[in-house]
Symmetry: C2
């Protein structure tokens, strides 16, 4: 396996949007311009996306970068015919792998031994048994969706921080996307992420439910501010 990427630009033209600002300014892009995304930006988005954490470091994801115009048009045809799919210079198809961990687990755990995460070969065996029990005991669909969305979120925020815009999309025909892009049966299409430059105007900010309705203190249903004021 590889170490952390070392060639990720810390800033572009001396500039990187702070995460607080990136979160507040990010909007789901409605329409993209023709502006290309430079290779160093795309490389950083992908490399940093792959730094997302995963249970037991199993990394149960794959990402297909679609840039060819004919392929973007094909993708649009299986994504509710949304124009932004073929407008965006890049669309990433984020895929969760339900079963790849079985074949990749040895590699992951032996790498952990090599890097000192565990000390003894017996720990590798024990870790693999625990991981197998855990994964066999849960919905693999849920598991791959959880993990893959962490990486998609990394990519979305990194793009925004470098000054690019994104459109995360959940409206697609998963079977159609799999057929058109050669995705195997045991994989799940989790999301599409368009990346490029938004064509103004942004759509208005839609509002958010108040913190007190979405955040509870200590138990479900207790509004956050009531308890935190106490």
């Amino acid at each position: 396996m590889e170490d952390r990427p070392t060639r990720v630009p810390a800033a572009r033209n001396g500039w990187l949007k702070p995460i607080t600002q990136a979160i507040l300014e990010r909007r789901a892009t409605v329409a993209f311009t023709d502006d290309a995304v430079p290779d160093d930006v795309l490389g950083a988005i992908l490399q940093l996306g792959l730094q997302a954490p995963s249970g037991y470091n199993l990394q149960p994801w794959r990402f297909i970068v679609v840039r060819d115009p004919a392929n973007r048009a094909r993708l649009q045809s299986v994504a509710n015919d949304q124009a932004k799919v073929s407008q965006a210079p890049i669309v990433v198809i984020a895929v969760g792998m339900r079963e790849a961990w079985r074949a990749e687990m040895d590699e992951v755990f032996l790498e952990g031994l090599k890097r000192g995460l565990v000390k003894r070969p017996a720990d590798v065996t024990r870790g693999q048994e625990a991981a197998t029990r855990f994964l066999d005991g849960m919905s693999r669909d849920v598991w791959v969706n959880r993990h893959t969305m962490i990486a998609v979120t990394y990519m979305m925020l990194v793009a925004e921080a470098y000054g690019y815009d994104t459109a995360p999309m959940e409206g697609f025909d998963a079977e159609g996307v799999k057929r058109e892009f050669g995705i195997p049966d045991d994989a799940e299409v989790v999301a599409l992420l368009g990346i490029g430059r938004a064509r103004p105007p942004d759509k208005p900010y839609p509002g958010r439910f108040p913190v007190d309705r979405m955040v509870y203190a200590e138990s479900f249903g207790t509004p956050w501010s009531e308890r935190s004021r106490a």
Copy 2:
């Protein structure tokens, strides 16, 4: 609904970690110190977490902030007895709501009309019908997990940017967590997120699969660099 939060600290003591650095330095915390997380930091983590995007802006999530030591101990007892659960000064229980959107949809769409996302009342009706068709046609478990993980990832990266450490956890007895914290049946426990300060040493970096194995160009299975070099 509410506008964007305006009191989120842009930096603390003149300092905020760039997102590139936050992603590269973040590790899943193994053990926490007793250091508290200041209220302004926690407030920013929560408020920015709630800015996560969601399909139709339905925001299908809730977050329970557990700080009381007795409650953290109770949470530990239903989270594989992991010591870090009661060590972390804060553990957020991230919950996905499978059915809340039915009752909240009117509010979301009328807010969209008020804010100019759609122009006419007929668009509200059409939007609600489309959202209902979409949601009735998909696994609600998958849907809430995808969305809630975006918000959890926001919280994790914001905490890191302010200089705090986190531990995302998937090892818990979901039914036990629901029982202990009054979480209703139609909700799904998606993740736990411990927030605090890591007790050194960090565990070693576990490595990542190479970009060429995880990223494909144009179709599943074509290593990224082959096509991108062409």
